[in-house]
Structure formats: structure tokens, C-alpha cells
């Protein structure tokens, strides 16, 4: 284990964390403002990945693929909001779990009907296929650098949108005290529809960007949903800043756990035990992190309703 390997893994963790942030941002706002638990958020991520993979294959333009993924997913999300989510606002969390689980079932079958059961192979854009020499003896895939750059850019844009614009002010008002915001004349329903569409767009962007480095298949939404939920719980539900910090934390802990824990265990334990224990500990690392944070700060790191 040398410095270059460590640095490489840290960059991987950063990239994964930023993608998690894109997914978690929409989830935490929807949860924070309308108190709505949306399990189907992962399905929007899946939709983004599928659309991007197919459009990229058909048009050979990655930029067009990402754009199409975002637009299509936002349109689907808008429809979903009007038909279902809008009617769930004032319902119990469990009812929301029930309804959005139903949406997951429908979405998985829809994807199967449109694109088939077999996983899609999404290719990296040709221009970014090779590695970049970051430093002496440190090649790094250029596509992963794009991921990091895009993630940081979107995070910055979101920060500006939420903290410096009028609509962002309304979003924050809704998140910190929905009732009071309503009394002050904010049309929280409209703000929410906007936030839901924004969240869907971000999830689709994450899906489109992750497609080339993960497998595009049915069930990918359910797989990414749980880490995203862990992120918003650690960060404090409703807090964008919390989601950002928590996403980077979870990304780094998860990646570092997978890369270093097996190596570290092999140094102190017999190989057969280490081989069993390493992946298990790596898999549970982020949940241990969540349990630890909740023990110390039951409302997450940056509670929005302070």
C-alpha cells in the first residue's frame, strides 16, 4: 500500500461521494420540505442511467445523452408528482413508503418492457477513455476526473441557488418551517413541485454520469437508494449542506473501507479470517458511521429545523 494507491482511492471516494450528493440533495429537500419519504427516488436515478446509455449509443454524443437523460427524467418526475406524490404530502410516512414502493415496482417493469432484462453496457465517451497523468507515476482515469469536476460544479451551483436566489430562500423557508412559510404567503406546493423536479434532474444527472462506471440494470435504483438515505440521515434531513458533508463522508468511508480494510485486516489476522471479515466490515462501514452519528447527534450533523 503506497501513497499513490491511497491517493487514487481517495479520489474514487470523492467521486462516489459527489454522485451520492447529487442523489441525496433532491431526496433531502423533498423530505425536509414536504416531509415526504420517496423511495422511488432511486428509480429516477435508474431512468437517467438508462436514457443516457441508450442515447449515447444511438447518437455517439455524451453531452446530448446527459441532456436527454435529465430532460426525460424531469418530465417523468413532473408527471409522477402531479399524479401521485402531490397526494401524499399530508399522509403518514408509512403510507408514503407503501405508495412509493408501488412506484418502484411499476418503474422496474416499465424499464424491463422498454429496454429488456439484460444489463446495458454504457461506454465512456471516447474523448475521455484514456487516463490522465496527474503526477509522476499517478495515472487516473480522465472520466472519473470529469465526474469529480461535474459533481463539484453542480454542488456549487446548488449552493448558489439555495443560498443566493429568491427561490432558494423559499426552499430554505419551506425546509426549516413549512407551516410558517405557508402563513407568510409562500406557495409551498409550487416550491415543492419545483424541488421535486430539481431533485429528479440531479438524480438523473448522477445516473447518466455513473452509467459508464457501474452496471446499468434493473434494481440499480434500489441499490443506490439506501446509501442516499444514509447520507440524508447523517447530514440531517432537509439540509443541503449536511447532505454534501455526509455524502463526501460516506463516499470516502465506503471506498476506503473496501480498499484498505481487507489489507489492514490481513496484516493482523490469519488470511482466511481476513478474507471473510474484510468485505463484511467494508460493507457495513457506512451503517456503523450512521449509527455513531445518530448516537451523538440524533438529528444528524446539520439539522435543518434548528
Amino acid at each position: 500500500m503506497d501513497a499513490i494507491f491511497v491517493f487514487e482511492q481517495l479520489l474514487n471516494g470523492l467521486g462516489y461521494g459527489l454522485m451520492l450528493f447529487l442523489i441525496a440533495a433532491g431526496l433531502t429537500l423533498v423530505f425536509g420540505i414536504m416531509d415526504t419519504m420517496n423511495l422511488a427516488h432511486g428509480s429516477l436515478y435508474m431512468a437517467g442511467a438508462y436514457v443516457a446509455a441508450r442515447v449515447h449509443e444511438a447518437s455517439a454524443s455524451f453531452a446530448l445523452a446527459v441532456l436527454a437523460a435529465v430532460l426525460v427524467t424531469v418530465a417523468v418526475a413532473a408527471l409522477l408528482e402531479v399524479l401521485v406524490i402531490r397526494r401524499l404530502y399530508r399522509r403518514d410516512h408509512l403510507v408514503q413508503v407503501l405508495a412509493t414502493f408501488g412506484i418502484i415496482l411499476i418503474a422496474d417493469d416499465a424499464v424491463k418492457a422498454i429496454w429488456g432484462v439484460a444489463p446495458l453496457m454504457a461506454s465512456t465517451p471516447a474523448a475521455l477513455a484514456g487516463p490522465v497523468q496527474l503526477a509522476e507515476g499517478l495515472p487516473y482515469p480522465s472520466y472519473r476526473l470529469l465526474l469529480i469536476a461535474a459533481g463539484l460544479l453542480v454542488a456549487l451551483g446548488l449552493y448558489l441557488l439555495v443560498n443566493k436566489t429568491r427561490i432558494g430562500m423559499l426552499v430554505r423557508a419551506g425546509a426549516s418551517n413549512r407551516q410558517m412559510a405557508e402563513f407568510m404567503g409562500v406557495r409551498v406546493g409550487t416550491v415543492f413541485a419545483f424541488v421535486f423536479a430539481l431533485g429528479a434532474g440531479l438524480a438523473a444527472l448522477a445516473g447518466a454520469l455513473m452509467a459508464p462506471i457501474s452496471s446499468v440494470q434493473i434494481g440499480m435504483g434500489e441499490a443506490i437508494l439506501i446509501p442516499a438515505l444514509v447520507v440524508i440521515v447523517i447530514g440531517g434531513i432537509g439540509s443541503i449542506r449536511g447532505a454534501f458533508v455526509a455524502a463526501l463522508l460516506v463516499g470516502l468511508v465506503d471506498t476506503a473501507g473496501r480498499a484498505f480494510l481487507p489489507l489492514a485486516l490481513r496484516a493482523v489476522l490469519p488470511p482466511s479470517v481476513a478474507a471473510d471479515l474484510g468485505p463484511a466490515l467494508a460493507g457495513i462501514a457506512m451503517y456503523v458511521l450512521m449509527a455513531a452519528v445518530l448516537t451523538l447527534k440524533p438529528a444528524g450533523l446539520f439539522p435543518a429545523r434548528a
Binding site: 423530505f31 419519504m37 423511495l39 401521485v84 397526494r87 401524499l88 399522509r91 410516512h93 408509512l94 403510507v95 413508503v97 407503501l98 405508495a99 414502493f101 408501488g102 412506484i103 418502484i104 415496482l105 411499476i106 422496474d108 417493469d109 416499465a110 424491463k112 418492457a113 434500489e222 439506501i226 438515505l229 444514509v230 440521515v233 434531513i237 478474507a275 471473510d276 471479515l277 474484510g278 468485505p279 463484511a280 460493507g283 457495513i284 451503517y287 456503523v288 450512521m290 449509527a291 445518530l294 448516537t295 440524533p298 438529528a299
Partner: protein
Amino acid sequence: MNRPASDSSRVAATTGAAAVAEHPHQPFAVRFPGFARRLPWLVLAILALFPLLAPTFGLEYYVGFVRRLLIVAIAASSLNFILGYGGMAALGHAGFIGVGAYTVVALVEAGFSSAWLAWGGALVVAGLSAALIGAVSLRTRGVYFIMITLAFAQMLYYLAVSLRTYGGDDGYGLYTPLEMGVWLDGVHPDVFYWVVLVIAALVFACFSRVAHSRYGHALRGIRDNETRMVALGYPVYRLKLAGFIAAGAVAGLAGGLLASHNAFVSPAMMHWTQSALLLVMVMLGGLGRRWGAPLGVALWLVLEETLKMHTDYWHWPLGVLLLLAVFHAPQGLAALSERREGGR
């Protein structure tokens, strides 16, 4: 088992036939008290005779299906107990099913072959893990409770994936059936079915009894107003923990039975979608209602089985069903027949 039905029959007896005439839409149990009281026994009798009758109607395949349904109903009843009566929205119940199943695997791998030992072990080990997990999780509230139970179930999932001795991701096949003792083995090919039926009936009767005991009322009090129950001097945390442990243990028992039923155990049993499914079935049947869990499980599994026979696309109709249930039958299936009885 049939106590509340007799409650409603008493209501019917005092109000008499005139009330029935005035309210033609009165609940089933009030209009036909005798039948409603006997219905559970009738269902039990049909279920008990099913393996004997099935060959006559060419339904042998469904004996196994009903056995699975009964096992899932055991797990769902335990979730209904803590969620419906105790208000504990645990999204990690499949984790305990997995603990039970892997306990059976561990005992088999260690050379034991007694079914009773394996299932008993499943019950105890799952109960112990529920004690540990509950002790931590029950300190949180609301969404955080949902999330932390989910997190623990995920930890168990990854633990199972990494246990290469027991097959890891690929799962573990139980090639020789467990021994249920000389009195049962070989008496009839479907003896395991009846064993499951008896266990399911006992579990169901126990949970129904406890739900209407002093403890059950305290649990419902906690669900409805925890602060008040604290003020009244109830040891709220301990009461909830006791319920959580009981539910976890029973889910573990169901897991042990499921391991025998499938003759196969894999981490997929404890994937988070399995926990969500269990929750969905209980809610569909009716949260905190006596018949909620078995009704929900029966509806879901029968629909799933039927749809699977006709199409590869069997997920979406179930999804539509969930949306319809949310908007048109939010109290669940069991509530439709007792709508006028005044709540749970």
C-alpha cells in the same frame, strides 16, 4: 383466538335484529355473529385438510405454496404486532428472518440434524439479536427509527454475504431435510405442512391474545401517546423492547422454517426490499388488526403467484394495487369488513 368476534356478537345480541334492519351495511361480524365466530376455525379446518384434498383437485403444487404463505404470515404477524400495535416502524424485519435462517445453516453445518433444535435455535438467536438491535434503535424516533433498523438489517445482509463458510453470496443448500422426530418423519409426505400450520396457528393465537392483554393495551397506549404513557409511569422503553424482542424472535422462527421450506438460504432473503415487502403486506392487510397480516400476505402472494403464471411483467400490477390501496383503502383490507366498529 376468537375473543373479539365474541365481543361483537355480544353487541349484536343486545342491539338485536332491529339494529340489523336499520343498518343494512353493518359489519359482517355484527350481522352474522355466529358465522364470524366460527370463521377462523373453519379456515383452520380447510387449511388442515388441504393436503389431503389437494390431489383430488390436482392442486398438489399448491400445498408447498400454502406452506410458504403460512411461514410468511408468521413473520408478517410479528411485524404487525410491533408496527400495528406498538407503532414501531421497523424496516429491517427481514434481517431477523435471515438471522433465523442462518442459525439453521450454522447448526446443520455443525452437524446437528434435529429440526426442533434448529428452529428453536433460530428463535433464540434472532431474539438475542433483536435485543441488541432494539436496545440501540428504540432510543430513536420516527424516520430515524425506520432508518436505523434498516441500517442494522443491511449490516446483517453484508455479514451474510461475506460468510463464505455458508456460501456467501451464492447461498447455502440444505440437501438433507431436518429430522422432526420418529413420531412425525415419514408418517405422511406433507407432515412438514401440518407442523408449519400448527406453529402458525399458535403464533397467531399468541399475538392475538397478547394484543388484547394488559401488555397489549399498554403497547397501544405507547403507540398513540408515548409522552402520556411515560407520565403514567409505564416503563415505556422496556415495554417496547420486550415487544421488539418477541417480534424479532418470531421472525427468526419464520426464517428457520423458511430455510427448511426452501432447502436453501441466501443473503437475498434479508435484502432491504424483503423488509419493505413485509411492511407492504402488513399494511395492505390492515395495520394493527387481528387478521391484517395473514390477509395481506395471502392477497399479495396469491396475486404474485397468479400474475407470474400469466406474464413476465408481474411487478407493475402489484405496484398499481399499492397505489390504489393507498388512495382507496388506507386502513387495509381487514378494515373493509369492520368499517363501522369504530377504529382498530
